[in-house]
């Protein structure tokens, strides 16, 4: 590789990593105003981020919503993908379109829709509403992930199990689902990350009591401009990175996401 190509790649990487790096560096600034570069160093904003009640409640809400929404979406999405791949039924094309629709509908539209619906019907705007909203938003990603794994599954394996005397329900349990596990795990991980970082729809459907972490952060920066938000970002990035590394290690994430370089690894 010639030197200018190396330089170009390096610049590109720096460009992508720069915002995250800046946020992480600012988190260690001792001053109480967001400024770059820092003059003196401190860990106090990490302490502030960990103890601020709105962040703690928001993180707890986000965690609850993330777990519920990702699990529900994975179950629903796996069922939908199986039905789309294996069955012929009326309205299949409609289901296909419906499942993919949220990819073109902006999040705030989904949030606005749910808000209007719940406000009109007088239903309580609690965590279940957030979960419902997030399920709708992440479902397409799960369906896609499972669908792709289903398409790459060798159908002869299921035929072999049938020929050996296993009825279809047993084949699904012992052959299809175990082989789909990477796809299911990938879909679930997608759903979890998307749910945890989701902001615009959550802004509409959450209340002061049910606000998620991103919404709590948004409310915080409207009033304060200290680096605790940067500290939170640093914690967030490191946690997510560790989770993804673990997922890659144990579940073969790069295979699931189709990002594996041919001949690499």
């Amino acid at each position: 590789m010639s030197w200018w190509l190396r330089l170009l790649v390096l610049l590109l990487l720096a460009f992508i990593a720069m915002p995250a790096l800046v946020a992480c560096i600012v988190a260690f600034d001792a001053r109480s105003i967001l400024n770059f570069p820092p003059q003196a160093w401190s860990m106090r904003w990490f302490e502030r981020a960990m103890t601020y009640p709105d962040f703690r409640d928001g993180a707890w809400n986000s965690l609850l919503v993330m777990i519920s929404a990702s699990v529900i979406a994975t179950l629903l999405g796996a069922g939908a993908a199986l039905a789309l791949e294996k069955l012929e039924f009326r309205g299949k094309r409609t289901l296909e379109a419906l499942v993919m629709a949220p990819l073109v509908v902006p999040h705030f539209v989904v949030g606005l829709g749910f808000l209007t619906l719940f406000a009109q019907s007088g239903l309580p705007r609690g965590l279940p509403l957030l979960v419902l909203c997030h399920v709708v938003l992440v479902l397409p990603f799960v369906v896609r992930s499972v669908w792709i794994s289903l398409k790459s599954l060798d159908g002869r394996l299921e035929d072999a199990a049938l020929s050996l005397g296993a009825p279809p329900s047993r084949v699904l349990r012992q052959v299809t689902l175990p082989l789909l596990l990477p796809g299911l795990a990938g879909g679930w991980l997608f759903a979890a990350i998307l749910s945890f970082t989701e902001f615009s729809a959550s802004l509409f459907v959450s209340t002061q009591r049910t606000q998620t972490l991103p919404v709590a952060m948004y409310n915080y920066v409207r009033e304060y401009a200290d680096p605790s938000i940067a500290a939170l970002s640093a914690i967030w990035i490191v946690t997510t990175m560790l989770l993804i590394l673990a997922a890659d290690r144990w579940l073969g994430l790069s295979r699931v996401l189709g990002t594996e370089v041919p001949g690499g690894r």
Partner: protein
């Protein structure tokens, strides 16, 4: 046993406007090894899938051990199938793969493991119980798939081109081995292949198929030496085709005039032809030998050494396609080179069919 292992009665299968199988009838006796041989698209795989139960016939009946299974789902048919890609479960080790059919039948684990060990001994894979399929060689994978299919003691063993994924060098030995294992297990077997050498080497009987029909069912010797029609004669084995005329029919034998020579042929395919009608004589390469009286002659185009024999290709105006091929002992072929002229004497008997237009 009196009852046949497999019987197909007039089985037809259509895919939309295409008929993949036209009223196929076939019987496999207990312990018999029957091959479905034909080019791709001939209906042999459809027939296998119908016996397995992956498809349902539009017409006709299928019997396994005398019992109609036409509407019985795959998992209740008691078949053992070896797939082209072997289809070993990648998330299970060899022992779990082989035990799968037994466990699906509700056999307790301890008993199943005994049967698995026995089956693995039979295919010489003992000691590899804990390996994953991807850690096995192609030949080992094939034997594991065979063990998995045989351990359930199926009513019939179905083999779907099991050698096509293997190196040519491995195939010969594995063919012999698979046949020995099949014979030891005493299981009736239906084997699908497009490879005539495999079919001739392994089968008790061969069903030659094309265009969704079974053209001929017979022992390898019958199919090779007395093909029922042009397709079989052309598909199984090599042949030089010479145009001749029908001299007459006498009993089961027909007389064919080819140039100055008169050959005998099976009369059945030629019934209904009048005397003097044009016919095509199919001559196997090993029935041609140097010398006279010359049935055909031509300029040698190439001499292909094959180890035990030599294939001599001639440019020959009388033969269909302008080419003739003779299979000679290496001794007889020594001194032959491209460009020399060779005269070949023919056999006294050959296969002959009504001439195909255009001449």
């Amino acid at each position: 046993m009196a009852v046949e292992a497999l019987r197909l009665d007039g089985v037809t299968r259509r895919f939309g406007a295409v008929t993949a199988l036209h009223g196929a009838s076939l019987v496999v006796a207990p312990g018999e090894f029957v091959t479905l041989l034909g080019p791709s698209g001939c209906g042999k795989t459809t027939l296998l899938n119908l016996v397995a139960g992956f498809q349902t016939p539009d017409e006709g009946e299928i019997f396994l051990g005398g019992e109609s299974v036409t509407r019985v789902p795959v998992w209740k048919r008691d078949i053992g199938m070896v797939f082209q890609s072997y289809a070993l479960f990648p998330h299970m080790n060899v022992a779990e793969n082989v035990a799968y059919g037994l466990r699906a039948r509700g056999m307790p684990k301890v008993e199943a493991m005994g049967r698995v060990a026995e089956a693995l001994r039979m295919v010489r894979l003992s000691g590899l119980e804990d390996r994953r399929p991807r850690q096995l060689s192609g030949g080992q994978q094939q034997r594991a798939a065979l063990a998995r299919a045989l351990v359930i003691r199926p009513r019939i063993l179905l083999l779907d081109e099991p050698f096509s994924a293997l190196d040519r060098a491995l195939r010969g030995g594995l063919q012999v081995e698979v046949r020995e294992i099949q014979r030891a297990a005493g299981v009736a077997t239906l084997f699908v292949t497009h490879d005539q050498h495999e079919a001739l080497a392994m089968s008790d009987r061969i069903a030659v198929m094309s265009g969704g029909r079974i053209h001929q069912v017979g022992t390898p010797e019958e199919v090779y030496a007395r093909p029922a029609d042009r397709f079989v004669a052309g598909f199984v084995g090599d042949a030089t085709v010479l145009r001749g005329r029908l001299r007459g029919l006498m009993g089961g034998t027909a007389g064919i005039e080819v140039g100055q020579a008169v050959l005998e042929a099976d009369a059945a395919p030629l019934r209904g032809l009048s005397q003097g009608a044009p016919v095509d004589a199919f001559l196997r390469p090993e029935t041609l030998s140097p010398g006279g009286p010359a049935l055909l002659s031509g300029e040698v185009r190439s001499v292909v050494f094959q180890g035990g024999h030599v294939d001599v290709h001639l440019a020959c105006a009388e033969a269909a396609g302008g080419r003739a091929v003779a299979r000679l002992a290496p001794m007889l072929a020594s001194g032959l080179a491209a460009g020399s002229v060779l005269e070949l004497a023919g056999p006294s008997r050959c296969a002959a069919f009504p001439a195909e237009e255009p001449a």
